[in-house]
């Protein structure tokens, strides 16, 4: 069953009618953990706002739980949970006061749905008298999630819940999402971190209001058409300039301590790697390491962006 459907959803801003969301279509199944992956300005927040009915689409349409986001906004508003980009809490209210306020606004009480938030709430409960403004990023994030869950929503929209939060809290947060998924809550989450993509059931890679690709993380990775090599040398800048000059290079870029170089699959793995290493050695680079590597979601994103840019030019 499809919980969310988007059909050519479009949002434009300003006098120039610049599209922030450009004819986006996809659907999310019941109980799925769906990720919108993309940088700032990709259109993630606009999509969230249209799906949660706080923003009107300029074209196309969408449904949540079978309700239309324009006509049936009341039904959607009472059945979804939403955590906007910044953790929207009242900084001058305590943890407890924030939670009970949002519970009341949604016509419920903390006690009624405590089982839903218990796992998360127990971690911040020792500080329940503390004002939300004095909490660390990780604790704010947990409280905001509790507030979004307190009315037992069927669909949860989380807009960049892990941005600006330290790695420890990020990891804990994804574990919480997995547990929520087990309770059959449909979750749509957005993130600029490519490494979080692998934690979703399915992902949509987004750039400039368009979807570059939409599939399971594993399928996106296996669809990577080229063969990828990781290269290391004594001088990074010289290495990057050298691999960019290499004839067979399709794309090359820094990737952590390595440079990633994609070469045509037709060349054959061993031959391609050896040829690249030989060529680099001739440029005077030392301490060379060249080995084939599995593409990550980030490599796929770069590949898709480059293709997108190239097709936009033609």
């Amino acid at each position: 069953m499809q919980t969310i459907t988007l059909n050519g959803l479009t949002k434009v801003y300003g006098k120039e009618k610049i599209p922030a969301v450009n004819e986006v279509s996809f659907s999310v199944d019941q109980g799925e953990l769906f990720g919108l992956i993309g940088p700032d300005g990709a259109g993630k927040t606009s999509i969230f706002r249209m799906l949660t009915t706080v923003l009107l689409p300029d074209g196309g349409g969408a449904t949540v739980n079978g309700f239309d986001v324009v006509k049936d906004y009341r039904q959607i508003r009472s059945s979804v949970g939403y955590m906007p980009g910044k953790f929207s809490l009242y900084p001058d209210l305590s943890i407890e006061e924030n939670l009970s306020f949002f519970a009341t606004v949604f016509n419920t009480t903390i006690e009624e749905n405590y089982h839903l938030i218990r796992d998360i709430y127990v971690q911040i409960e020792p500080f329940k008298k503390r004002r939300a403004g004095k909490l660390s990023g990780g604790m704010k994030q947990k409280l905001a999630l509790c507030c979004a869950l307190i009315h037992k929503p069927t669909v949860l929209f989380l807009d960049e819940p892990t941005t600006g939060v330290d790695p420890v809290s990020r990891k804990e947060f994804w574990e919480m999402l997995k547990r929520l998924k087990a309770q059959n809550i449909t979750i749509v989450v957005s993130t600029p971190y490519m490494d979080e993509a692998a934690l979703c059931d399915r992902i949509a890679l987004m750039q400039d209001g368009k979807i570059l690709s939409i599939d399971t993380p594993a399928n996106i990775v296996s669809a990577y058409p080229d063969q990828l090599f990781a290269v290391k040398a004594d001088r990074m800048y010289a290495l990057l300039s050298a691999v960019a000059r290499y004839d067979n290079t399709i794309n090359s870029y820094a990737f952590g301590e390595y440079a990633h170089v994609s070469l045509p699959a037709a060349l054959g793995q061993e031959a391609a790697g050896a040829a690249l290493k030989n060529w680099l050695a001739q440029t005077g680079l030392e301490a060379l390491e060249v080995f084939p590597t599995e593409p990550t979601i980030e490599d796929c994103f770069i590949k898709l962006t480059m293709d997108h840019l190239a097709s936009a030019k033609n």
Binding site: P39, D166, K171, M194, Y237, G256, F301
Partner: protein
């Protein structure tokens, strides 16, 4: 300036020795010691509240240490703060350019601050705009640029006066992977030309790009090495996991 060399003959750009900052009972930075070499990209990592900002402020000459010593480009952080400021550049993700000025006006403004002459300014701003491929955009407001371009421009402006050291505060959060690479290309290029790059960040994927990394936990440096060796040492595949293991035990870190 006399040359400061270490045992291996590398020129030292930043040297901190038991640098400490104390606010009342609270020790924000506790006897931190490290060296950064010329042309190195040095990552300064830590969760929010671990003491990163405090340490960086001391190194930039914005705050006087409580004890310990440090030299930046050979200048003392206690006595020669004015000299330090002339020799460093600074860029932060939050603030760097004026949105309501044009690209050219921003470049001229920052060049003017560092006392570049009219001729130098004209020459350098033309070169900078050409290098970034912004010829058509030079008279547009910075507000109208995409985030990635703003960051590239901000970095170029920060190195306009040819500083010996550039401090970057969480420079590439939120940009797309391609633009981020273009940004790092600029950093690698600057480092290749001998500029020392000091990056503070809590984004671990940014850390992977640095030559060496120090990780601050609760005001002290908990680890300092190349990303490769740190990952080996902790037996993990990414810096994220290295950080996770270190920060899990933190008392006052963000969590």
């Amino acid at each position: 300036m006399e040359n400061h060399k270490n045992g291996r003959g590398e020129e030292v750009s930043i040297r901190a020795d038991k640098l400490t900052k104390q606010y009342g009972d609270f020790i924000a930075a506790n006897a931190i010691s490290f060296e950064v070499y010329k042309g190195e990209i040095f990552g300064f990592l830590g969760a929010n509240g671990a003491g990163k900002t405090t340490a960086m402020r001391m190194l930039c000459g914005l705050s006087t240490p409580s004890s310990g010593s440090a030299t930046i480009a050979g200048f003392d952080v206690y006595k020669e703060t004015e000299e330090i400021k002339k020799n460093i550049g600074y860029m932060s993700q939050k603030f760097s350019l004026y949105e309501d000025l044009t690209i050219l006006e921003n470049i001229r403004f920052y060049g003017g601050i560092y006392g570049l002459s009219r001729g130098e300014l004209r020459e350098k701003s033309a070169a900078l705009i050409a290098r970034l491929g912004l010829q058509g955009e030079a008279n547009k407001l910075v507000a109208s640029l995409p985030l990635g371009w703003k960051q590239k421009l901000a970095f170029s402006v920060a190195v306009l006066h040819q500083p010996r050291i550039v401090f970057l505060d969480e420079p590439t959060g939120g940009v797309d992977p391609v633009t981020r690479r273009q940004f790092w290309d600029l950093i690698y290029q600057a480092a290749d030309q001998g500029v020392t790059i000091f990056v503070t960040t809590h984004y671990m994927d940014e850390a992977e790009y640095c030559n060496r990394i120090s990780i601050m936990v609760d005001g002290s440096i908990a680890a300092l090495d190349t990303p490769h060796r740190l990952k080996q040492q902790f037996g993990v595949a990414s810096m994220d996991e290295v950080f996770y293991q270190l920060a899990r035990e933190a008392k006052r870190a963000d969590g």
